[in-house]
Symmetry: C2
Subunit: 216 residues, 2 copies
């Protein structure tokens, strides 16, 4: 792919992938962009435009081959390759990620957790060992690491991200409440801000509320 | 606010709010859209456009009053009011959410967790009780619930969401790997798909990889 595709389009791709996966599970082999559109609650023209960024995949009036489209979107999303993930921070969130088997279905294998809490030393989550953070450098020398997930307090995330970059890790999945920006270090960062989505929900709650409640 | 504001604008608001909070912590009282723009890595015109949706808040050549803008965006996001949240599913993710003190800073108070696992009965997370799911109906009759967070397997999320809607809960923060759609039941849903962001990261990893590795 030589053309730069907008991140807005990319952000919609996992959703297509998820819906197509459900169609496969339901035994559907072929679907029109109109049917896909009403299921996904986006316009058919949006679907066609999005997929045209990657060359189309459909034929006018004939619809999409569900399995083919699913596989192609998977390739676009880089899911054809296995990715190994380490998790820095083995608290509840880190353990929740390690327990989430769904990720493996998509080729993401969690290979280790790291923490500073000595009480966690030697423990495992779903068979995945929790290491002490001192072992991080040795671990990265012996095992390939594609992605590091950070489930750390905000105050520690920035320094840890730099350390990871120094160890040659080039992709960070950041759950700390700060926008990590390591562009200068050639590291990809995906920030997940749970409170942002909560605020979006509370915006919609406030918006729907009548300004002046009717007297009872 | 009578004008409908696009969800894309709303999605950016929590990020403004986060950055402005950091500026306040750093003692900054006033900032130009240019300075805010370079910190946030968005264009100054985007910032002005976004804020103009709500009436502006700044004066040409004079910049924004940080604290005022922070408070106003907080109001827009509905953060002026307290929200009580219950968490359905007290596994690692549910417990991680209950442990996340940051939410309280924004007025979101987690008041209870619910689970089906009898081993969790009577336990607490940060002082918040884990109830058995049978107690849900009684609880919602006695306590106001603004938002229910679902940290359940996909297979159980849909039925639980309907049950919650039946109990009069009108906002769901959904972590199950499915797009809940309860529009017919007049329930607001915010879906959080952790694997979507992981896929976006893997797309960017794949994109940056050279197609043909140079010989070593």
């Amino acid at each position: 792919m030589d053309k730069e595709i907008s991140q807005a389009v990319i952000r919609r791709m996992p959703r297509y992938y998820r819906y197509l996966g459900e169609l496969i599970d339901a035994g559907v082999e072929r679907i029109s962009s109109g049917d896909l559109s009403s299921r996904m609650n986006v316009t058919a023209s949006q679907i066609r435009q999005d997929l045209n960024n990657f060359g189309g995949f459909g034929q006018q009036g004939y619809g999409y081959n569900v399995k083919y489209l699913y596989d192609e979107i998977g390739k676009i999303l880089g899911l054809g390759e296995k990715h190994s993930i380490i998790i820095i921070g083995a608290g509840n969130l880190g353990q929740a990620l390690a327990n989430y088997v769904e990720f493996e279905k998509f080729g993401f294998a969690i290979t280790a957790l790291f923490d500073i809490n000595p009480a966690l030393k030697g423990r495992q989550v779903r068979g995945i060992a929790i290491h002490m953070i001192e072992e991080l450098e040795a671990f990265t020398k012996e095992h390939p690491v594609d992605i590091a997930a950070l489930t750390l307090p905000k105050s520690k995330a920035e320094a840890m991200a730099s350390q990871l970059a120094g160890l040659g890790i080039t992709a960070i999945w950041n759950f700390a409440h700060v926008d990590l920006d390591l562009a200068g270090q050639n590291v990809l960062v995906e920030n997940v801000h749970l409170s942002d989505s909560l605020m979006q929900l509370s915006y919609n709650i406030a918006k729907d509320k009548p300004r002046h409640a009717a007297p009872q």
